[in-house]
């Protein structure tokens, strides 16, 4: 998104202060230690249990009191197993995807939210893959509950989870073309007609942003 003032105005048009809000940087760099809270402990435990830690973890991001570990795709399965067996993250509460078309070769992100009841802690794993090669190892063997979540992510983003027991669409009809949650997939909708006037579909409407 490019920086714009109110309704696209640049310069002195905006007096309210809204358009002049400073947009904070998206945190892309790895957070340095100490991470704070229980995050150091999680990182330490993982490093101890998994010697290839520095190779598997691309970066660690601590933002708004939440820990995200960016994991390399090839190491994801191993890391997940260690997290479940040794670090007692018993539950993977959900999987979801985000499409960032502007990040070249890392367009598709998959996010795993993990919960440990034993430790009463939460962490998040994030895996980035490219649009051209959207393969990620399935974690159904580690947490059976990721089954439907991975199917949903496949359905919505077209990310292929290798070794999934039955990777089929779950929300959309089986013969549906495209993956609706991708950013290049239009929202669509039907123009609304009322007394001769037409209101365009939501994604076609004039918008102030």
């Amino acid at each position: 998104m490019s920086d714009r003032g109110m309704f696209g105005v640049t310069g002195s048009g905006d007096t309210s202060g809204f358009g002049g809000l400073v947009k904070p940087e998206v945190i892309t760099a790895s957070t340095q230690r100490p991470f704070g809270s229980y995050f150091d402990q999680v990182a330490d435990d993982l490093e101890r249990a998994y010697p290839l830690f520095s190779d598997a973890v691309e970066k660690v991001v601590v933002d708004r009191g939440e820990l995200t570990l960016f994991i390399k795709r090839d190491r994801l399965f191993e890391v997940a197993k260690i997290l479940r067996n040794d670090l007692k993250f018993e539950m993977c509460v959900g999987v979801n995807g985000v499409h960032y078309p502007t990040e070249s070769n890392r367009e598709l992100h998959v996010i795993y939210s993990l919960l440990s009841i034993t430790r009463n802690q939460r962490i998040r794993l994030e895996v980035c893959v490219s649009d051209k090669d959207p393969h990620i190892p399935s974690l159904v063997e580690v947490w059976a509950g990721t089954n439907w979540h991975e199917r949903e992510t496949y359905d919505m983003f077209g990310i292929i989870f290798d070794n999934h027991p039955g990777l089929t669409r779950i929300m959309m009809p089986d013969d549906w073309p495209g993956h609706p949650q991708r950013k290049d997939y239009p929202l669509g909708g039907i123009d609304i007609e009322y007394k001769g006037a037409t209101v365009p579909a939501p994604s076609e409407r004039r918008s102030y942003q």
Binding site: M1, K23, I27, V98, I111, G145, T146, P180, Q181, Q209
Partner: protein, 446 residues
């Protein structure tokens, strides 16, 4: 043997052998024909339009006699693309969408979403105590109304009509409270980023106190009907078994998890909205079955009433406090009031923005047309909905609209346990097991 063609019962050769499809017609003629084959595997398609599947859920059951050998769920019939839609509306409008996901617990959807937006904005600490207490009170009322549907329809599906009548009578009382507070009985869009849409109307607390009293009295009716009822116990005890190991690997939360004896409730374990300041218990059972889940829901009703009573006491002391965050760049500007021609902006607010304050007019215009900007980042917030962990994953790119809204709906996740609960059991027990998961298809499919 004579061959005949029945237009409703066609058969075809497949790699698995001869397959008969039955969509109606005469069962007897089919039985005659099937009698010739050795194997008797019957695949029954139950739903999506079926009174006992708890909504538009399609169950594909493979049977050997009355025993189920395989269960699969077909979902997606209620997929409405809410997550996609929110990306084309501003952050405040998102509330109106997400409230329609799990339509039996709208306040939870709204609160989880708003907690996420507030975390992204970094204003979690600025939400006034009055707004938070109102949120808690509405959530607990919502838990009651949701559990009432779970109990009522669950009993109805097993053939018990009277509990449904009582449950919906109680739910009606709760919906009256919702209507009084928010103007709507369902899908209220009442909780907004920064607080709640409106303060409680005059006389609300006394009405709420009366409702709590009535509910506590009336809950006894259903308790008397079902707890210890020998038919009910026969239909539910030992049915839909799922133990702790099964729950953790499948990511199951809520009453199903608590029926394994683990007192895991996010309100206690990872408190939000100040739940650490309330006194309440977490009911558990260790039976891992449908009856245990039923008992848990019954006991949670009383715990919710306890929390509501504490909310009322707190709200009395917080009379007059604002219900929206003070930051004028975020707070929704309009103050609604009810006039002769329906609900609209209050005259005082219109007088202020049109005649007195240019700044207020700008704020109103900007917030309504454009919305506020939310700093870029990603958050996950989870709350304990009546069905388990309701998680919201929000991604902002720094704009006025969400970049990605994802709901981790407990119904969606918990429905995965259907196979584990049903296989090896009887057809009739599928109904009991699914009812005990209490899936709401609006939340499953979103």
């Amino acid at each position: 043997m004579t061959t005949f063609t029945d237009p409703y019962a066609s058969s075809q050769e497949t790699t698995e052998g001869r397959v008969y499809s039955v969509t109606g017609g005469d069962w007897d003629s089919l039985v005659t024909e099937i009698g010739a084959t050795k194997e008797e595997r019957v695949v029954v398609n139950m739903g999506p339009q079926h009174p006992s599947t708890h909504g538009v859920l399609r169950l594909i059951l493979e049977l050997e006699g009355e025993t189920i050998t395989e269960t699969r769920c077909g979902i997606g019939y209620l997929h409405t693309g809410i997550e996609k839609n929110t990306e084309y509306r501003n952050w405040t409008q998102g509330v109106t969408f997400v409230t329609r996901m799990d339509y039996l617990s709208p306040i939870f959807n709204e609160t989880a979403y708003c907690l996420g937006v507030e975390k992204l904005l970094g204003i979690t600490g600025d939400i006034t105590e009055r707004a938070t207490v109102i949120r808690v009170m509405m959530m607990e009322f919502n838990r009651i109304s949701s559990h009432m549907v779970a109990l009522g329809t669950g009993a109805l599906e097993l053939g018990a009509l009277s509990p449904m009548i009582f449950a919906f009578r109680e739910r009606e009382k709760v919906l009256d409270v919702f209507e009084m507070v928010s103007g709507l009985r369902m899908n209220m869009a009442y909780v907004r980023p920064g607080g709640v849409a409106q303060d409680l109307p005059e006389g609300a607390l006394s009405k709420i106190r009366q409702t709590v009293k009535d509910l506590r009295h009336n809950f006894k009716d259903n308790a008397k009907l079902l707890i210890g009822n020998s038919i009910w116990i026969k239909r539910t005890q030992g049915i839909g078994y799922l133990d702790l190991a099964g729950c953790t690997t499948l990511g199951i939360t809520g009453p199903v998890l608590r029926s394994t004896g683990l007192a895991w409730d996010l309100r206690k374990a990872q408190p939000y909205c100040g739940y650490e300041n309330y006194e309440f218990d977490i009911p558990t059972t260790d039976t891992c079955d449908v009856y245990g889940r039923f008992l848990i829901r019954m006991q949670e009703l009383e715990q919710s009433l306890r929390i509501i009573e504490q909310c009322v006491t707190k709200l009395e002391k917080l009379e007059g406090q604002a219900v929206m965050v003070a930051d004028k760049k975020i707070a929704w500007p309009s103050q609604l009031s009810i006039g002769a021609d329906g609900m609209g902006n209050s005259l005082n607010h219109i007088r202020e923005i049109m005649g007195e304050s240019m700044e207020a007019l700008i704020h109103h215009f900007k917030l309504v047309t454009e919305g506020f900007r939310v700093p870029a980042g990603q958050v996950y917030t989870a709350i304990e909905s009546p069905r388990g962990e309701l998680g919201v994953n929000l991604v902002s790119d720094g704009g006025t609209r969400p970049y990605r809204v994802h709901f981790r709906d407990p119904s969606f996740n918990n429905l995965q346990s259907t196979a584990a609960m049903c296989e090896g059991g009887q057809v009739a027990d599928v109904i009991a097991a699914v009812a005990s998961i209490d899936p709401v298809m609006g939340g499953v499919d979103r």
